[in-house]
């Protein structure tokens, strides 16, 4: 086995330990952020260098080092980079435990990287738990009433979701006798269709897996934790949850459902229809519940539920299509990349504005266009991207996913999705209207730090580049999705 292929993960663990120890020794707390970022850069550099080599799996077929895993690893490392940049000013408010904050962010990133790469049910479960436990602690980091309530809710519901997931995995293991995704696929394909059809354990196992993973991606009806947790958590962590945690959930869904349950066709059509149903209720409920919200973090929380719905339109299209649909798969990956940049950008702008105002209420954003024109412009761009209007990335992302769905006779689903996009425009544009046309309570400027500005510029650049020249990212996504084409 080649341990060199494990360097990105090892680098993250090492950085996390160094950050904790350094926290004891130094008074210069900004150093902690710098060390964390350099650890991420090292891990990212090695990951980029591994791209495109088609390495074999390591750890006895448990960890894939394919382009799909590398694509997501780069995504998570990028998000962690932005999260740490946008946390610098936020964390400085804590008197103690800054090292633990950065270490937990790094360990959660490690968990997500493993989620995207593991190909064994046992390793998948432990990777999910590593991510979740780090996030539970981060959500409760503020220790005020709201943050503690959010953390407790997230912990309890997350534990239930884990139990459901484990039960599903146990049923699938009991039915196939295997834990490796590839072996599961082989033993399912070896069975005759009538036996498969008469095996409720497989179906129930898949349904329970959908429920367990659905909690991670915050799909309706597994979304009840979202608004309270998003509101109570420290804002950089809310951004992290809404972006990376969701992307990791989709990464694991794609890998498990394609590697293990991609064949025979009727099986994939069945789970495709499950995702179609979840997509409809997630989009509709997410968008309708977002309309009356007055808190920007709750609004973005419901919006992220709706976005998960659009993504599941892509999953449904993949499920019902016969194998080899490279456009659909790379479309889902492209949507995830564009969603990551867009939502990160929106949250970084919120961190900058709310940090100054000490309020998350949308009404308090009135007159931001005059008080902080650049922040307001960036937030506007990101909200436009979330609606799916050109020239932002969200337009191309929705275009790819919806056209894949239309090609596979899911026109009804696309009609619902487009109607939902129209509904969503209402509440996104309301924020824009308040910012640019509302009367400011004071004329005081809203300054922001260099780290926040850098993070915001990077995210907005990503949103614009993906929207104007989507070809490059699309090619990366195609290379990453190729592992699912037999």
């Amino acid at each position: 086995m080649n341990l060199a292929l494990f360097i990105p993960e090892l680098a993250l663990v090492a950085t996390a330990v160094i950050v904790i120890l350094l926290d004891l020794l130094t008074e210069q707390k900004r150093l902690l952020a710098q060390v964390s970022i350099s650890g991420l850069v090292v891990a990212g550099g090695v990951t980029v260098a591994m791209w495109g080599h088609n390495f074999p799996t390591i750890f006895n077929n448990m960890l894939a080092v394919d382009n799909f895993a590398l694509f997501f690893k780069m995504l998570f490392l990028g998000v962690a980079f932005l999260v740490i940049l946008s946390s610098v000013d936020y964390v400085i408010k804590f008197a103690r435990f800054q090292g633990e904050y950065y270490a937990l962010v790094l360990l959660a990133t490690l968990g997500m990287m493993l989620m995207a790469a593991t190909t064994n049910l046992i390793a998948i479960y432990i990777a999910i738990e590593l991510t979740s436990i780090s996030l539970y602690a981060l959500v409760g980091f503020l220790k005020d009433a709201k943050s503690t309530e959010a953390s407790l809710k997230y912990l309890l519901l997350g534990a239930v979701a884990s139990a459901v997931l484990l039960y599903g995995m146990a049923l699938i293991f009991g039915f196939t006798g295997k834990t490796n995704l590839h072996d599961i696929a082989q033993s399912i394909q070896a069975l005759s269709p009538p036996t498969l059809f008469a095996s409720p354990a497989l179906i129930l196992g898949i349904v329970l897996l959908v429920a367990g993973f659905g909690f991670k991606i915050a799909a309706v009806p597994f979304q009840m934790w979202v608004p309270d947790v998003y509101e109570g958590a420290p804002t950089p962590i809310t951004a992290y949850l809404s972006v990376a945690s969701k992307a990791a959930g989709f990464a694991i869904i794609l890998r498990v459902f394609f590697s293990a349950f991609g064949q025979p066709d009727w099986l994939s059509q069945n789970w495709g229809l499950i995702f179609a149903g979840l997509a409809v209720i997630s989009m509709t409920l997410g968008n309708i519940m977002a309309i009356p919200q007055s808190n920007i973090k709750r609004l973005l929380g419901y919006s992220s539920i709706a976005q998960a719905g659009y993504l599941m339109v892509g999953l449904a299209a993949l499920g019902v299509s016969p194998v080899g649909d490279i456009l659909g798969q790379s479309g889902v990956l492209f949507f995830l990349a564009s969603y990551v940049f867009t939502n990160m950008g929106a949250f970084i702008a919120v961190i900058a504005i709310s940090g100054k105002l000490n309020s998350d209420l949308i009404d308090d954003y009135a007159g931001m266009g005059k008080r902080a024109p650049l922040l307001a412009l960036a937030l506007t761009l990101c909200l436009i991207s979330l609606i799916g209007m050109p020239p932002a990335a969200g337009f191309m992302a929705k275009f790819y996913i919806f056209s894949a769905a239309v090609q596979h006779d899911l026109l009804w689903l696309v009609v619902i999705a487009v109607l939902n996009s129209v509904i969503s425009a209402y509440y996104y544009l309301r924020v824009v209207k308040v910012m640019w046309l509302g009367q400011a309570a004071s004329q005081e400027k809203v300054p922001s730090s260099a780290a926040l500005r850098l993070a915001l510029v990077l995210s907005c650049l990503g949103v614009l580049l993906l929207g104007i020249i989507p070809g490059y990212m699309m090619r990366l996504a195609e290379l990453a999705a190729r592992i699912f084409i037999p």
Partner: protein
């Protein structure tokens, strides 16, 4: 035959104890019932030839976790009032019954993978080889170590004084 009979006796007590956890109003009694349930699960493991797992179950759950639960109850005030019931009792009951039906049907109708080799005894060496040996589950073991680090960090952070 003796194994089969003891399996069913243990299973029945286990389910009764689990029901006790739910229906006993007094939190302390519910905790004792939970410990009985843990103990019965350890017994089930023995009847299933999982000797190492049974020992771990007794050490960790019956030994450590139960002490933790009882300590937590001792430190909590107003235990005597018991756990309040809520309006969702009946819907929850219906959902639970439906779930039970689905699970039982699934168990009965599925053609399960049944091992043809007799169970190993003792299992400790084989488990160690699978976990730490060549071609085994060393990756999950290592991730579990990092997971515990993360849990310790979380505990330190959440238990701090404000």
């Amino acid at each position: 035959m003796g194994l089969v009979i003891s399996f069913w006796i243990l299973a029945a007590i286990c389910i009764l104890a689990a029901l006790g956890v739910i229906f006993l109003r007094n939190v302390f009694r519910a905790a004792l019932s939970l410990i009985l349930c843990f103990l019965m699960v350890a017994g089930l493991y023995i009847t299933l030839s999982a000797d190492f797992l049974a020992a771990v179950q007794i050490l960790v759950y019956v030994g450590a976790i139960s002490v933790l639960i009882i300590l937590a109850i001792m430190m909590t005030r107003e235990v005597q009032r018991g756990s309040p019931s809520n309006r969702l009792q009946i819907p929850a009951f219906i959902v639970a019954i439906l779930l039970l039906e689905v699970l039982v049907l699934t168990l009965l109708k599925t053609p399960w993978q049944i091992a043809t080799t007799p169970p190993l005894a003792p299992t400790t060496t084989a488990l160690a080889t699978r976990l730490f040996g060549e071609g085994g589950f060393i990756l999950p073991v290592e991730i579990a170590a990092v997971l515990i680090l993360s849990a310790i960090l979380g505990a330190i952070v959440l238990a701090r004084e404000k």
